[in-house]
Structures are given as structure tokens and as C-alpha cells.
Amino acid sequence: MDSMMLVAILAVAIRAGTSLVFATIGEIYTERSGILNLGIEGIMLMSAMTGFAVAYHSNSAWAGVAAAMVMGALLALIHAFLTITLRADQVVSGLALTIFAGGLASFMGQRLGPNGGPLVGMVGPRFEKLAIPFLADLPLVGRPLFQQDALVYLMYILVPVSAFYLYHTRQGLHMRAVGENPHTADAKGISVGGTRYFYTMAGGALVGLGAAHLSLAYTPGWTENLTGGRGWIAIALVIFAMWDPWRAVLGALLFGAINAIQFRLQAMGTTIPAAFLGMLPYIFTIVVLVAITWFESARKRVGAPAALGIPYVREERH
């Protein structure tokens, strides 16, 4: 492989990985506060559909992004209400959210197009690539890094900001305290329920932002099952990332690269059937998950927030 090809793969890897970075960081926030949200595949579908529908009718891609984020937060609110207030099982509630939101996206996608018709196949506004002056002219990395769409640049800002927020602010400390030891956090006067509500919804909004990148930039438009399991891959990436935003970027880029290589091989007219290339991201997810679990358990280091998945009830001590 020559350097030109590596540069081309890096460019696609970033584009393909952006939605995963947003979704993974969103889920990291939610899980850091102690809530496991398995509904993000459904949230992504519904947010991608909503984002495209709003952008299509308002003719503004940014309005679409805002709508996708609001939709993500609202759907996450259902999960928060069920699991925090009503103490429902987090696994089942998340699965229910995926089935509900996935079905709703499919349903509304048939109705939110022009004249109450289907949205599938419509062409709307999208985020075009914008080259950043000077930076885009850097040798090798210039074009893949700095000739991208606006949401990719937003991701460049979001990652360091969210890592700083998580580790170096009081709010970040509270979030982690609630996820690690809610009883102590409660005793210190931090509202456990309120914190969890906030980060479940904030996480949902970020997942919605990732979905907006899919339907407004990476694969513009709406089709059934547009996400192709990216929501689930993001959940696997959270484990890969050990709940750390920087490592989330690394994981998402790896996945993006797999996607890029898959398309490149197809474009080169390989003899490997398309179905096998299509399996690559899923096989890779399993392999990575196995490796990371093996590696981390060998080092006796478990990165999961201690109270992840456990409902908090003040009177019941664990």
C-alpha cells in the first residue's frame, strides 16, 4: 500500500467513524453515571430519520442536527424514566427502546416525505466538505483531516472537551461518583437521580448527533435500517474504550478504517464476495471485544463504573 492509499483510507475512516465517535461518547457519559442504555440503535434510527425529515422540510441541515439531538434526548428520557424513577430492568428497557424507536422510524419514514408520502429516496440538504485554509494544504494528513464536513470538525472539538469535562471538572467528578458509588455521592449531597437523568439525556442527544452525521453527511437521505447496527457497535466500542473518550476515537477510527478498506476492496473488483466484506465490521467487533476482555481481565482491571446497571434506592444498601 502506498502513502496515497493510506491517506485515502484515513479520509474515509474519519468520515465513517464520526457517527460512532459521537454515539460512543454519548453512551460513555450515560454509563459513567451508572445507566446502561442499550436503546441507542433505536435512538440512532429515529434521530437519523427525524434529522433528515426536518432538514428536508426546513431546507436547513443544522435544523436537522438540532432536531436529531432533541429526538435523541427525548427517547433517552423514556429510558431514564423507566429505569431511574420506575426502577425497570435496564437491559430490557433498552431493548424495548430499540424495538420501539426502530419501528417508529420505519413508520414515520413512510409518512414524513412530501405530501405525507415516504421519505425514502428523497434528496435534501447535506453537509458538504469544507476545506480549512492552510491546514488542508498540509502534506499527507492535511486533506484527510481538514477537508471534511462541519460535523467532523465539531467532533474534533467535542472529544477533548468531553475528556476534560469527565476528568477535570466538578460536574465530571459528580458524574463519575454517581456511577461508581451512588450512596456516597448521595451522602455528599449530589442528586443521584437528577445526575443520571441528565447524563442519560445528554448521552441520547450525542447519539442523535451521531445519527445526524449519518443521514445528513455520510450517507445523506433516509433508508430503512440506515444505521446497519452502528448503535450496537458503539456499545461494544464503549467497552473497547474502557469508558474513556480518547480511546473511543481510536476504536471508532479502526471501525471506520474497516469500512474504508471494505469499500476499497469492492471498488477494486475483488473476488471476495460482498457479503463477506460486509461481515468484516461485525466479526471485527467480536474479535476486538474478546481481545479487550481477555487482556483487561488478565490485568485484573475492570473499567466499568461499579454501579453500572444497578438501580439506586436510598433505603436499600447493597
Partner: protein
């Protein structure tokens, strides 16, 4: 006055019955609002769904046709959920069950039939005509059932081994394996297994008629229904009458106690997932050998995901799984009907399922907790209470 919730010592029985009923009613109202929003008449739509699913002998038989794979996958995932192994891979296990069923029926069955020819000839010669007819059918039916079970079981075994020995998150693994299985089956019927006489139709050639599951006269309902009922019975026996079932329940209800009692976790995960995957594989078998008679596009339509709702609404009880699967199948058939007759998206059925599950989940708090209204305490009253 303040309101708080208090844990019940015993789960409330009336709440356990009332909540599902209430949930369905509220889900229908919310779904009705959604339908009204897109300009459909909710009452007319529900009526069309009801008639489409249960309005005639034919409608009921078609609902049963959809209920069978839901029953089998529902039973499959519920046994895994019993021990808190989150098998979300019913869809992939179903696909692999269908794959091995078709593989057996297309490639192994003809060889078996050739091998049996002398024996069949001998039976005919001995005047045992009925045996000569029954022998090949029995062999092939046993073969497809075994193939379906094994196909699903091997797909369930992978996440089980990874979980048992390394501790890999089974939710992700089972899910990723769904995508892999679906792509694999598509590869086969679009590629090497495609029927050369199929005019480009994505599917394999038809399997030998001797490997078809027998049908009830005049319907598409087949042996699969009986297999599902027998599976429910066996599962009930295992769970309630055997030591193994007891171990599964202990692992699910109290993992710490299971560890102290020396229950073998690895062995149980592996065995339960063989059974769970196998049952889901049987669902794929009934689709291939009972309905389409070939491996074709449309094998995976989401039964493995709906199975999760079935299992949870049935509270993981095998008999209840059969009933819930039948009702949810009615919802799916009704959804298809309104798509055909009223041009409404069939996905309204998925939306209704999701809402029902949300409400049942949320309502569960009332079975486990009671809502108490605190009144300002009167010292004389509380004194009197403590004396009595």
C-alpha cells in the same frame, strides 16, 4: 402529605394480571393517537387489524403460522433469560437453523434417499407398503429437525463459550452474530445455492417433498406448532421438575448463592445456550421445511427480536410464551393486513409492541413495590398501634 414507595414482601398477584391488560389498552390508545396524527382512522385501523388476524378460520391459521417461529424463539430466549444470559441472537440462530435445514434437505437428503432405495424395495416386496412410505419420511423429518436444532445451537454456542471462559459481553456477541448469519444466508441464496431455474429469484431450489413438515389440512399450519407445544412442555418440566432447572433458576435469581452452592456456571451457560440456540434454530427449520420449502429472502423478518418481547411479557413462563406469541403474531398479521388493505406501514405493529413492553416494564414497579401515602404521624395513634 408525602408519597413514597415501599418494597412488597410478596409480589402482588392482582398487579401481575392487571398490568399487562392495562398496558395493552393504553398502548392501543397511544398507537391510536399516532395513527390519527398520520391521518388514519384508529378505530377502523384496529378493526381491520383484528379482522385480519382473527376474523376468519383462514386468518387464525395465518396468525398461527407466524406464531410458531415466535413461540420457538420466545421459548429459546426465555430459557437463557432465566439465568440472566442475554441472548439477543435469536434472529441469527434462526437463520443458521434455516441454513442447516436447507443444507441437509438439499444435499444430504437425496443421498440418504438413494441409500434407502434397496431397503424400501425390500419392504415393498415384503408387502409392508406403509413402512416403505413411512421410512423415508421419518428419516428425512428427523434429519431436518436435527439439522435445524444443530444450526441454531452452534450459533448459540459461540457466545456461550466466550462468556463462560473469558467473560465477553454476550449481548454484543449475540447481536453481531445476527448480522453475520443474515449476510451468510443471503450469500448462499444469492450465490452458490441459488436455484439455477429460479429466474433470478433470490432463493434455493425447492427441497424434497419428503422433507416437508406435514400440514394441517387446508392451511399452512404445520408440524412446527406441535413441536412448539412439546418444546414448551419439556421446558416446563426441565425448569420445574429437574435439578438442572433448579440450578438455572438459582443462577438467574441469585448468582452469589449459586456460586456458594457450587453450581457449575460454565457447564450451565454452555448447556442452556445449546438449548436456547437450538430452539431458535428450530424456528428457522419450521420456516424452511414447513412454510417456504426452500431457503429464500424473507427468512429473517425480526422474529428473534420480537421473541425478546414475547419472553418478557410471558414472564419467562413456557406456557405463557405460547399464548403471548399467538397474540403478538396476531398483531404482526394485523399489521400486514392494514399495509395491504389500507396502505398503512406494517411497522405500526412494532411500535405497538414497543409501547406495550414499555408499559409492562414501567408497571412492574407496582408488583414489586406499593405506593404509600405518608400522613403526619399522631403520637397517640402510633402508641396505640405498638400496644396492639
Amino acid at each position: 402529605m408525602k408519597i413514597h414507595v415501599e418494597k412488597r414482601l410478596e409480589p402482588s398477584r392482582s398487579a401481575a394480571v392487571l398490568i399487562p391488560v392495562f398496558s395493552v389498552v393504553v398502548a392501543l390508545i397511544l398507537g391510536g393517537i399516532l395513527l390519527a396524527l398520520v391521518g388514519a382512522n384508529p378505530i377502523e385501523t384496529y378493526k381491520a387489524m383484528l379482522v385480519g388476524a382473527f376474523g376468519s378460520r383462514y386468518a387464525i391459521s395465518e396468525t398461527l403460522v407466524k406464531a410458531v417461529p415466535l413461540m420457538l424463539t420466545g421459548l429459546g430466549v426465555s430459557i437463557a433469560f432465566r439465568m440472566l444470559f442475554w441472548n439477543i441472537g435469536g434472529e441469527g440462530q434462526l437463520a443458521m437453523g434455516g441454513f442447516l435445514t436447507a443444507g441437509f434437505a438439499l444435499f444430504v437428503a437425496p443421498k440418504l434417499l438413494t441409500a434407502m432405495e434397496p431397503m424400501i424395495g425390500a419392504l415393498n416386496g415384503a408387502g409392508l407398503d406403509f413402512l416403505a412410505i413411512a421410512l423415508p419420511r421419518t428419516v428425512l423429518l428427523t434429519g431436518v429437525i436435527a439439522a435445524g436444532f444443530v444450526g441454531g445451537a452452534m450459533w448459540g454456542l459461540v457466545p456461550a463459550l466466550l462468556k463462560a471462559y473469558i467473560g465477553v459481553n454476550e449481548i454484543i456477541v449475540t447481536l453481531m452474530m445476527n448480522y453475520i448469519a443474515i449476510l451468510w444466508v443471503e450469500y448462499l441464496f444469492y450465490g452458490p445455492w441459488k436455484d439455477p431455474q429460479g429466474y433470478g429469484f433470490p432463493g434455493t431450489a425447492e427441497i424434497s417433498e419428503l422433507a416437508w413438515l406435514p400440514r394441517f389440512t387446508g392451511t399452512r399450519v404445520n408440524l412446527g406448532l406441535i413441536i412448539a407445544v412439546v418444546a414448551a412442555f419439556l421446558l416446563w418440566v426441565v425448569l420445574n421438575r429437574t435439578k438442572w432447572g433448579y440450578e438455572i433458576r438459582v443462577i438467574g435469581e441469585n448468582p452469589d448463592a449459586a456460586r456458594y452452592a457450587g453450581i457449575n456456571r460454565v457447564r450451565n451457560i454452555v448447556l442452556v445456550m445449546i438449548l436456547s440456540g437450538g430452539l431458535c434454530g428450530l424456528a428457522g427449520m419450521t420456516e424452511v421445511a414447513g412454510i417456504s420449502h426452500r431457503l429464500q429472502k424473507g427468512l429473517t423478518v425480526g422474529y428473534g427480536y420480537t421473541a425478546i418481547i414475547v419472553a418478557w411479557l410471558a414472564k419467562l413462563n413456557p406456557w405463557a410464551v405460547l399464548v403471548v406469541a399467538f397474540l403478538l403474531a396476531g398483531l404482526l398479521v394485523g399489521g400486514d393486513q392494514i399495509q395491504i388493505t389500507m396502505g398503512l406501514p406494517a411497522s405500526v405493529a412494532l411500535v405497538l409492541q414497543g409501547i406495550i413492553l414499555f408499559l409492562v416494564l414501567g408497571g412492574d414497579i407496582l408488583t414489586k413495590y406499593r405506593i404509600v401515602i405518608d400522613r403526619p404521624t399522631d403520637p397517640t395513634l402510633s402508641g396505640a398501634e405498638s400496644n396492639s
